[in-house]
Amino acid sequence: MTDITPQGGQDKGQETAPAKLGYLPAVDVPHKPRATDTDPKAARRAERQVASMFLLSMLFVVLFVVAYVTIDPTVTVYIPVLGDVGASNVALGFTFGAAVFLIGAGAIQWAKKLMPDIEVVQQRHEMSSPRRDTAEAAANYERGKEESGFVRFKMIRRTLIGAMVLFPIPLVVVLRDLWTATPAEQGKSPADILSVTLWREGSRIVSDGTYAPVRPEDLPVGGLISGVPEDLQEVEEAQGNLNARTKAAIILVRMDPSEIRAQQGDGWDYQGILAYSKICTHVGCPIALYEQRTHHLLCPCHQSTFDLADEGNVVFGPAARRMPQLPIGVDEEGYLVALSDFQEPVGPSFWERG
């Protein structure tokens, strides 16, 4: 210890005082010696164990580099329990994990077997400061209060408080433009924007994915098609986002007209084909789990269930509102079209929705 610490040498006077440890052995704690304490053989064995763990760790680092260089990352291997997994990932994870783990295991083995395991004691001190320090802090505070005149200069105090309250306002105000309205959104409130979709009178319904227009005969009774408006692709291209899709996605289902108990408007179906929004009125998950026998539509996120034969009403789950229905018909060429936009906002409720 001596030749490490006092090289600075300013306090040579104290150098002669023996350095003392900050703790004492805990005398009244029962202690049993370990095998490594009493048996030199056991101690040497522990030493070898620790050293071999560190050695193995190094070996695994080498293996990691080898695996990194040699294994093609696209190759998969079958490993029991794990199934088909990426060979590179398994090899890299195993070698790196083992290399790191063995350092830890070695260090802990070293501590547990070879370092002293005699418990020691240190005294605690109450957290609160000595009275003298508190008094000194208070005196300094009083002096500062007096010298600054914070109490005397009423005008300064009040204006300072005012300034401190106001200065963060710009930092909040600039957040307003987190939303910058597009030209189409100019002058509209969020509620206005949420309340309209791409659908309008005469919009052809095209099948999602293929974007082919849908004829009534494409949809058998009991069938389901995910639909979007014909101009969706164009609009998405122009807007560069998926916003229009989030509101306009619909599902078309066909049932025997006699099974339809109620609709949201007279004649909104076309020969038993009903169009409903695909976006759950709860928190907005897209829905497509349809049970054709009961005409129930189930949301996979929170299990709200809607009865499409009964004007899309909620039959179970946390959703409060029915699924909005889209009135549909066919155009001259016999393709399914919307007769208007949705008559109520689609998707989750919002404050201004009413």
Partner: protein, 581 residues
């Protein structure tokens, strides 16, 4: 005098060089020998810390390849099923990390597993701190910091989960949008500001990225530092044991024991996360496909720590009210905003509430055994049961499939259970804790049951009780019997009305509720008597019971004849033997 190698001398010179500039040896002199108590449960917080470091480390690597952009890209990597499909840069770069960067998938999976372990370790660490009363004075601030850290951990996890822009994470964001939109007055605008207009927009991932890689981890890192500094200055709590008092700390010194043990443990945690990251797939985003707002897969599950929120959303009845044309979505507001708000606020305030109720103003460095604080333990278990029920709700679809139940019946069950089960758990836990207290009392008075069965000369079988070990005795006698606060008077001796009567009376009743059920610890004399007695009798024998009528005794013991003159006890018998019969 010890000798030193050249390296040590260089180290010493460096230490001196630094010390002359920052005074570091003063710190080292006090802290190299700092004593920490040992207990396996103290490693839980360490796991949280180390997994956080692993997450930071792997996260930095991921930023090198991840592109936080929702701009469109056509995938052209080596994962064949998605080749040529339009997707966001974020998703495409995550696929690249998973398939084309060697070791990239390992880093991604380590990052994800590390995050799951981080949050789980924080939760379990919090349980340990709660049930042992480690949050009591002087450690209330650290509890509060811990609650904030847990909350931030959830946010960090959710924000990271949402970055890859795969179908599952996008659906999570869609739900988050719905929740924000449900907040009264500001919700609709809030959602528009967050997403730069409608969902999903093109900005959100870039915005979330800054939050995920800088803001949240920055705050976590700062708070973790304060958390550890407080542990350091306040010294760690210790479990009761021989030689352990409220004024000392018994354990092992930092240098060398904990440097090796804690340092080694970091490598263990790191290694295990690497092994799991290499061997167990997590969040295989390539299976889900790119996000599109009109598709979702069945059985969508969030990461485990969001499960309770999702469950709350699932089991909430569909209440919504419209007042003067304004919509209030209780079905979203209550489970997703109010419930977690109340839960975390109550959690954060718990130490302050408990110390107000109990009037306990003392410093506590010795941990409570959970049984010795039955009401607190019962509260904790009640909260956990509430959480677990919500969690079950979050997996109701999976459970429905696995156990062939209907989702509806699970949901209806949970709607009732959420109110019925936690109080039952409370009562049962408190009874169990009191039962354990009673058992401790028995041990103090009569020793422990040694499992050694003796047959007495007169035929009676008894089990020999033995005195407790020094350690167990110290642990059991650490129990402190608290008195509930006294009932306040309506007026003082002079007839002046007590203005705070109602508050004090409430506090009195709560305190009786908290401390009331208790099995008092025997007095020191009783304990000494009991242990001494056990030690005495366990040596050889247990004395015969005193029977009023000796003849009756002799007849009652059927086959065993006990004649006058025969030994009355094992000891007598032994003495007879030794006296050479």
């Amino acid at each position: 005098m010890t000798t030193h190698t050249p390296i040590e001398r260089a180290g010493g010179a460096t230490a001196t060089y630094v010390d002359q500039r920052v005074g570091s040896n003063k710190f080292l002199s006090r802290n190299l020998g700092k004593v920490f108590p040992d207990h396996w449960s103290f490693m839980l917080g360490e796991i949280a810390l180390y997994s956080f470091i692993v997450v930071l480390l792997t996260g930095v690597f991921l930023t090198l390849w991840f592109k936080p952009s929702m701009a469109e890209a056509i995938y052209d990597g080596s994962y064949v099923p998605l080749k040529g499909i339009p997707m966001s840069e974020a998703y495409s770069s995550t696929l690249d990390i998973s398939f084309d960067v060697r070791g990239g998938l390992l880093l991604r999976q380590m990052h994800h597993w590390g995050a799951l372990i981080f949050i789980a370790a924080m939760a379990v660490h919090m349980f340990r701190v709660f049930f042992t009363g480690a949050f009591r004075k002087p450690r209330e601030f650290n509890w509060l910091i811990g609650v904030v850290l847990t909350t931030l951990g959830l946010l960090a996890g959710f924000s990271g989960y949402s970055l890859p822009d795969d179908l599952l994470s996008g659906t999570g964001l869609q739900i988050a949008r719905g929740i924000v939109q449900a907040i009264p007055i500001v919700g609709t605008w809030g959602a528009f500001l967050l997403f730069d207009g409608e969902f999903p927009g093109t900005e959100f991932i870039a915005r979330l990225y800054g939050v995920h890689i800088l803001l949240i981890p920055g705050i976590i890192l700062a708070l973790v530092t304060v958390h550890l500094m407080l542990v350091w200055t306040q010294k760690h709590t210790q479990f009761p044991g021989p030689g352990r008092t409220n004024q000392n700390v018994v354990g092992y010194p930092l240098m060398p024991i904990y440097m090796a043990k804690a340092g080694g443990f970091f490598f263990l945690v790191f290694g295990i996360i690497a092994l799991v990251g290499g061997l167990v797939t997590i969040n295989p985003i390539w299976i889900f496909g790119p996000f599109t707002p009109d598709q979702v897969s069945a059985g969508s599950q969030p990461d485990w720590y969001i499960g309770f929120l999702d469950g709350a959303l699932r089991i909430m009845p569909n209440w919504e009210t419209v007042i003067f044309g304004w919509t209030i979505s209780w079905n979203i507001l209550i489970p997703a905003v109010i419930m977690p708000g109340v839960l975390f606020t109550a959690l954060g305030l718990y130490p302050f509430i408990e110390s107000w109720v109990t009037g306990d103003k003392g410093e506590h460095n010795i941990l409570d055994r959970p049984r010795n604080a039955p009401t607190r333990t019962a509260f904790g278990m009640m909260a956990i049961s509430f959480y677990v029920l919500l969690w079950i709700g979050g997996a109701n679809d999976i459970i429905a499939v696995a156990f062939d139940l209907t989702i509806n019946s699970i949901t209806l069950f949970l709607r009732a259970a959420i109110f019925i089960v936690p109080p039952i758990v409370f009562v049962v836990t408190r009874r169990i804790a009191l039962g354990l207290q009673r058992r401790d009392r028995e041990k103090l008075l009569h020793g422990y049951e040694s499992g050694r069965v003796l047959r007495l000369p007169h035929g009676e079988f008894i089990e020999v009780h033995e005195p407790l070990s020094e350690k167990e005795l110290a642990v059991i006698t650490s129990k402190v019997d608290h008195e509930p606060l006294p009932a306040p008077d309506r007026a003082d001796a002079d007839g002046v009305r007590n203005k705070q009567y109602r508050a004090q009376s409430l506090r009195h009743r709560l305190s009786v509720f908290f401390y009331g059920p208790n099995v008092p610890k025997p007095s020191p004399e009783q304990i000494e008597d009991g242990q001494h007695h056990v030690a005495h009798s366990a040596e050889l024998e247990a004395p015969l019971h005193d029977y009023e009528d000796e003849d009756e005794l002799r007849r009652a013991h059927g086959g065993v004849l006990h004649h006058p003159g025969m030994a009355e006890s094992n000891r007598e018998q032994q003495e007879d033997l030794h006296s050479g019969q």
